[in-house]
């Protein structure tokens, strides 16, 4: 803890970035094979509602001013995640409806709360697009705690989730508690979204979950490779993005995503040129 307090803000950003670069692709790999990466968009917007609510509360109720809006963001994200699962059950044949419903509710509520509170444009800008300079020590603790919990959950359920993603019916017959594990998966998505929020930004967190694995699946032959390459790409995008944004003084999330897109283009190129043989294992 002593060491953490001595970090400069760029070092804090890099520590947070390393955690995000590890966890986001791990989650992304499962979202990808389940074809629900789009859920991250809905959840990031409902997390924005939570953050605006947090800012509003700390402004209007001074005795609650100590609350870091990231925590209210996390609460909204968890609730939103469970609501999405409920909606996906309710609309069994039109599961994708859950995403626009939650997303638009999230934006609508956020707009109202932003209007009511007196945050500066700069402050909102940093929440939307991510910002290195505003990562406080308390934000770093938040990222470390949520990242740690997310990692434990992934470690516990990795192989069960893989089996469920491939063939839910078989997973059930092999004794895996599918419903319970799907619930934990919802919690994980919410955790990871709110964990990445401060550095990457609300509008771009979905990209951080998706881009590294979108790149890795182009050249991976196994799920393991999707995960490992995804983590490598995620870390590279985070670190390069943070350093670029620092030296050129531009939005961190934007730079991270641009780096991610460049990696994606490079992997497509590698695939096109046939540089990876079909027997890589």
């Amino acid at each position: 803890m002593e060491i953490l307090q001595q970090l400069t803000f760029i070092e804090r950003g890099i520590v947070a970035g390393l955690i995000i670069g590890l966890i986001c692709p791990l989650l992304g790999a499962f979202l990808l094979v389940r074809r629900i990466t789009i859920i991250t968009e809905a959840l990031s917007h409902i997390t924005l509602t939570g953050i605006t609510a947090g800012v509003f509360i700390s402004q209007t109720m001074t005795w609650l001013a100590f609350i870091n809006p990231l925590y209210t963001g996390l609460i909204f994200s968890l609730v939103g995640s469970i609501l999405i699962e409920k909606l996906r059950h309710a609309y069994k044949s039109f599961q994708e409806l859950a995403v626009p419903i939650i997303l638009s509710s999230g934006i609508g509520l956020s707009a109202i709360l932003i209007g009511l509170s007196s945050g500066s444009t700069v402050e909102w800008y940093s929440y939307l697009f991510g910002s290195l300079v505003t990562v406080s020590l308390s934000d770093l603790y938040f990222t470390m705690a949520t990242g740690f919990i997310a990692f434990i959950i992934i470690f516990a359920f990795y192989k069960e989730w893989l089996s469920i993603s491939f063939d839910q019916e078989f997973a059930k017959t092999s004794g895996i508690k599918v419903n319970r594990l799907n619930f934990f998966f919802s919690l994980l998505i919410a955790l990871v979204i709110s964990m990445s929020m401060k550095v990457v930004g609300i509008l771009l967190v979905g990209a951080m979950v998706t881009l590294p694995v979108a790149a890795s699946i182009q050249i991976a032959k196994s799920f393991r490779q999707v995960v490992i390459l995804g983590i490598i790409f995620g870390e590279v995008a985070m670190i390069a993005g943070i350093l670029f944004s620092y030296y050129f003084n531009i939005a961190t999330g934007g730079m991270v995503v641009v780096t991610g897109v460049v990696i994606l283009l490079l992997t497509s190129l590698i695939k096109r040129l046939g540089l990876v043989s079909s027997t890589v294992a």
């Binding site: 990795y158 089996s163 019916e169 895996i176 032959k221 294992a281």
Partner: protein, 274 residues
Amino acid sequence: MTKESQAQPALEIKNLSFSYGKQNVLEDIHFTVPQGSFLGLMGPNGSGKSTLIKCILGLLTPKEGSIKLFGKPIHQFHDWNKIGFVSQKANSFNSGFPATVFEVVSMGLYGKVGLFRFLTKKHKLQVREAIKQVGMEDFIHQNIGQLSGGQQQRVFIARALVSEPELLILDEPTVGVDAKSVQNFYNMLKRLNKERGMTLILVTHDIGAMTEYITDVACLNKCLHFHGNKEEFELQQEDMMSSLYGHDVRVITHNHDHHDHDHTHDHDHDGSGH
């Protein structure tokens, strides 16, 4: 295995009924599958075969009746490793799914290994063994989506076999598989049944091709029209088939050409697997 557990039937169904909403699909089904037997379950399309299998596997909950697996009522049964399953829809996975043959077969052990744990050396050996058993060892690191229908089917059988089940349930596993592979496949089932004493339930249209392998037959069309051993079945075969399928059906034994849409061949290795 103790004497007592040997005596328990692998499966015992009593008075089972099932409906999707108002539509009755299964009515008053009774039958028993002793350990070591090989049951061929037949019936026309939509007769409720897959529904019955899903009830047996606990994927669907019946409206009435009882199901016992190895002597235990299904809601108290937790020993799912004892049961292997190959679904009718096994091939309908997303063909871009990034998983190798090794990874897919490993999934057969995941329920057994437990949370927070990964496969040990011994588990991995078991996975390789199961892959070898279905003759797919040359494709072990290939992507599952790049294999032919028949090869994929063999991988799914390996996934069901890897946990060394005592009861193996296969729902129309040979649809879309070419004739030669089907023959090899039936021979493999026969070995599992005869040499390892594994109990098998095979859902099939093609009972004629199966008569030399199976020990028992069940005919289903909402109700159970027949259940007995093969010899009894052969005596009443003609009557049975016409009551089940309507009058114009002839039984053609040893005809494997029904499902030969897929012209991939068993030994047609594409050379990229090495």
